[in-house]
């Protein structure tokens, strides 16, 4: 019998699909049948087999009598593969994209009109605590106004203005299209101080801030590429950086080279660059296919008159 015909028999006898002339039956462990290459010790072979997808692949001795899938059906060899249970549910999104309270560094965040960026860390100004990220994350490249809702998670990750507002836009440093810029930063004030914590997801708590050294190893935790490690390749770069409104010049930037592949990707903007001794050293805001660019944290603290918590 051809594999296609044998498969119809299996559909009836294991999944309960009605076929004329056969008595339908089901097997509680079988979740699907198909046709594919037989795998032997995890390696696909040339042989075509009837594939049985099961919730759990058991040792032959543990299979109940009568439940065992025969070696061949209607002359076609069989192959059993564990597939778990098929479901219409999408996999649970990573925690970086989800709503988390108290919210912390590394998570998805954004002005209600942008896609999503990263919650950098908490900063302090006087008695008040603020969320630090980029202007282009919290203030929509300067198009936002004070009081605008800041969503966690960001809009791209399903954040909604009726239930996911974490903070209000407070202050941002304007981006200058004519003259060199030093920072792309903004702060937002949480509506409820209990909704935020000074931790950074998977990196723990910061121990203040300092300047980075050339060739120093650093890490970050961001919405898209999560925790990545890299090396500071430049601490006094002047660069042209593309924005939605055109290209801007940035001075006094640090450039980071990823240790294994890319250090960052779209959505990681706003991540704090952290030294191996737990100090904030930079604020990630841009990248090229090979490098990541961050503002120096001292310039950010000075421009916004804040201190890293």
């Amino acid at each position: 019998m051809r594999p296609e015909e044998a498969k119809v028999v299996c559909e009836c006898q294991y999944l309960g699909v009605a076929v004329e002339g056969l008595t339908p039956a089901t097997n509680a462990n079988v979740v699907g049948v198909g046709i594919g290459h037989k795998a032997v010790r995890g390696q696909a072979t040339e042989d075509i087999a009837l594939k049985f997808y099961v919730k759990q692949k058991l040792h032959p001795l543990l299979v109940k009598d009568g439940q065992r899938i025969p070696e061949e059906i209607e002359g076609v060899p069989t192959d059993v593969e564990e597939a778990g249970e098929f479901s219409i549910w999408r996999p649970i999104p990573p925690i970086y994209h989800r709503k988390v309270r108290p919210a912390m560094g590394g998570l998805s965040i954004g002005h209600y009109a942008i896609s999503a960026g990263t919650f950098g860390c908490l900063v302090r100004s006087g008695q008040d605590q603020y969320i630090l990220s980029n202007n282009h994350v919290l203030a929509n490249e300067g198009r936002g106004v004070e009081g605008d809702p800041i969503l966690q998670p960001g809009r791209f990750d399903g954040g909604k203005t009726d239930k996911d507002v974490l903070a209000r836009l407070d202050t941002f440093v304007a981006l200058d299209p004519e003259a060199p810029n030093v920072v792309d930063c903004a702060i937002a004030q949480p509506y409820n101080s209990a909704d935020v914590t000074p931790d950074i997801l998977n990196l723990g708590r910061l121990r203040g801030s300092r300047d980075a050294d050339l060739e120093e190893k650093v890490t970050k935790s961001g919405r898209t590429t999560r925790v990545t490690n890299g090396t500071v390749a430049d601490v006094s770069a002047t660069l042209r950086v593309g924005y939605s409104t055109g290209s801007l010049i940035f001075q006094d930037q640090m450039v980071i080279r990823g240790q294994r592949g890319s250090f960052s990707a779209g959505g990681d903007s706003g991540s704090v660059i952290v030294s191996y001794d737990g100090r904030a050293v930079g604020l990630l805001f841009a990248g090229s296919p090979f490098f990541t660019v961050a503002n120096k944290i001292a310039n950010v603290e000075k421009a916004l008159d804040v201190k890293v918590v």
């Binding site: 980029n134 601490v235 950086v241 593309g242 990248g287 090229s288 090979f290």
Partner: protein, 70 residues
């Protein structure tokens, strides 16, 4: 001798206005500080238009690609 920072400052505007150049910085090459020039792509014309050294400070050319806000 002028410091690498001074040399960078002196030539920065000129380098940044060279077509194909997207950044100028300071890096380390063979244990020595150097002027780093970031270029958008490996274009022989751009590479030929850049100096190997500026006021005795070596120049390292790095193909970075274009920088974009993330």
């Amino acid at each position: 001798m002028a410091s690498v920072e001074e040399v960078k400052r002196r030539y920065e505007v000129r380098l940044m206005s060279t077509p194909g150049v997207v950044g100028v910085g300071i890096g380390r090459k063979d244990g020595k500080d150097c002027i780093r020039v970031y270029v958008e792509k490996e274009d022989p014309k751009v590479l030929a238009s850049l100096p190997h050294a500026l006021d005795d400070v070596p120049v390292e050319i790095v193909v970075s690609g274009a920088f974009k806000a993330l």
